[in-house]
């Protein structure tokens, strides 16, 4: 019984880790601009993230090493700096976007401008990461994240996507001059879903929860069911964007406007449900991003780390955590719209994916760590394909997007 309880916990953990400001932003915008034409990208990203999460969970359960440990020990300090620095850059941007997402959710509830609520949101994230035990960090926001199921209810109330929208599923309606936008969104969807922070967080979480060889089944179920559930939320929002926002010619330029997609089917309740879902997913993601970066740094340099320790018992880890938050707050003070920030961060992450995930292919095939549980050929080829697609799309999309003046 206890085992099945921990499986449910694992599932909600994965849900919180999958959906975030980036996913909400990219799905909503994708639906509003291109109908159902980008669902394939979400599905591709889902398969990739299931494979990656299952692998890193298996790796940590068997080797008792986290991802950052393995990179530093196997590839040396010089190489370790590449995923470290690229991670710090991309994820500081992302953390600023997630905190902005929380602030916008709070402003949808209170009517106060999100700019004023930004410091409140940052303080909330800091307090939780400073003192809350790991179990609260994974289960609190993740349970709240179940609100994202209401996106599915919204689609049902609207009677599903209209018939004329269906052909966009396989024949995306890309108007002249919109190709750059389309590619940018493909890169952003891949980057928003396949985020390296999730891997650092998940492998550290597996250590915090003391996973072992007995946890392999739990790991597999968590990866498949949890990530598919997250994907369902993302696709639902995309479909909602396509049904509601596309006919209005709203290209969903702010996170607040995306709430319209829920207000149409469910009225004021829908708007609040959207705000609740945004709050939960952004809070969960902000904690996971911030911890992911801090775990990475502390483990890479061999310091004490852990959310179940008091701050003074892992002083360097907790100091880093606080500094990362301050950097994100500084980025947020520029007042850039969180949705634009999330889109930018996601594309930058896609660009860096080959750096952060190449070590993965090596360690997952090392029998010293995994014994007879190393990767099969299919898993290796699949990961290489995803890396190549994400990188090529990001390389093409980023300059085009800058030239054409952004989202």
């Amino acid at each position: 019984m206890k085992k099945w309880f921990s499986i449910t916990l694992g599932i909600v953990t994965a849900t919180g880790g999958f959906l975030d400001a980036g996913t909400v932003a990219t799905s909503g915008e994708a639906g509003a601009k291109f109908g159902l034409g980008l669902i394939w990208a979400v599905l591709l990203a889902t398969v990739a993230v299931i494979l990656l999460v299952e692998m890193i969970g298996r790796f940590t359960a068997l080797s008792q090493k986290t991802y950052a440990d393995a990179i530093r020990e196997n590839f040396g300090f010089k190489f370790y700096l590449l995923p470290l620095i690229s991670g710090i850059i991309a994820e500081s941007l992302l953390l600023a976007a997630e905190i902005g997402g929380i602030a916008i959710a709070l402003s949808l509830f209170t009517g106060i401008s999100w700019h004023y609520l930004f410091p409140v949101a940052a303080l909330l994230v800091w307090i939780l990461s400073w003192r809350a035990p790991f179990s609260l960090i994974e289960n609190g926001p993740a349970l709240l994240g179940l609100i994202t199921l209401s996106f599915l209810v919204g689609i049902v109330v609207l009677g599903g996507p209209p018939r004329e929208l269906l052909p966009t599923l396989w024949k995306p309606d890309i108007k002249q001059g919109e190709l750059a936008d389309y590619l940018f969104l493909v890169a952003a969807i891949l980057g928003a879903t396949i985020s390296p922070y999730l891997l650092y967080f998940y492998s550290s979480g597996a250590r915090e929860e003391k996973w072992s060889r007995d946890s392999l089944l739990l790991n597999r179920v968590t990866a498949i069911v949890g990530m598919s559930f997250g994907s369902l939320g993302s696709i639902s929002l995309l479909v909602l964007g396509a049904i509601v926002l596309r006919p209005l010619n709203i290209s969903s330029s702010t996170l607040g406007e995306l709430g319209l997609a829920m207000a149409k089917p469910l009225g004021p309740l829908g708007a609040y449900l959207f705000a609740g879902a945004l709050f939960a997913t952004c809070l969960g993601a902000a904690l996971e991003v911030m911890l992911g970066v801090s775990y990475n740094i502390a483990q890479g340099f061999g310091w004490e780390w852990g959310e179940n320790k008091k701050p003074v018992e892992a002083a360097r880890f907790n100091l880093v955590l606080t500094i990362i938050l301050l950097v994100a707050v500084a980025i947020g003070l520029f007042g850039t719209d969180p949705l634009q920030l999330a889109l930018l961060a996601s594309t930058v992450i896609a660009l860096f994916l080959p750096i952060s995930l190449t070590p993965f292919l090596f360690i997952m095939n090392d029998p010293d760590y995994l014994g007879d549980h190393t990767n099969g050929r299919f898993a290796n080829i699949a990961i290489i394909c995803v890396l190549i697609i994400a990188f090529i799309v990001a390389v093409i999309a980023l300059p085009l997007e800058i030239l054409t003046g952004g989202g």
């Binding site: 061999g302 004490e304 100091l319």
Partner: protein
């Protein structure tokens, strides 16, 4: 030849590996090692080195003078090889965290920086 291979294996198992003390504190990772050339021509490992200066040199030897000028060895810590009880992915040390200068970094930060932040758990 077998002896040489063993030595290489030991090197691979030391650099970048985790240092853990008797009281199970993770105090850092090995950034570099120091060795002495003995009279009989053998190189003998003497010290493990941690700290930013050694790490800067790992990135590029050109950074060595810059790092030396800026840091002047202030954060450089040496641990005699005799302190190592067990070699592996984690190097286990004989002493407690407080016995090593690098082991006191967490305490220094706790006492000088975190003390000003509420809820630090002191």
């Amino acid at each position: 030849m077998a002896g040489q291979k063993d030595q290489l294996l030991v090197m691979h198992n030391i650099i970048d590996n985790q240092l853990e003390t008797k009281d199970q504190c993770k105090i850092g990772r090995v950034a570099d090692i120091e060795a002495e050339l003995c009279d009989d021509g053998k190189l003998v490992l003497t010290n493990l080195v941690t700290g930013p200066q050694a790490l800067a040199t790992r990135i590029s030897s050109r950074l060595r003078p810059v790092a030396e000028f800026l840091l002047r060895g202030r954060f450089e810590h040496h641990i005699p090889i005799s302190e190592v009880k067990e070699i592996g992915p984690t190097l286990r040390l004989r002493g407690m965290a407080k016995d090593y200068s690098v082991g006191q970094s967490d305490r220094w930060i706790a006492e000088h920086i975190l003390r000003w932040i509420p809820g630090n758990g002191r």
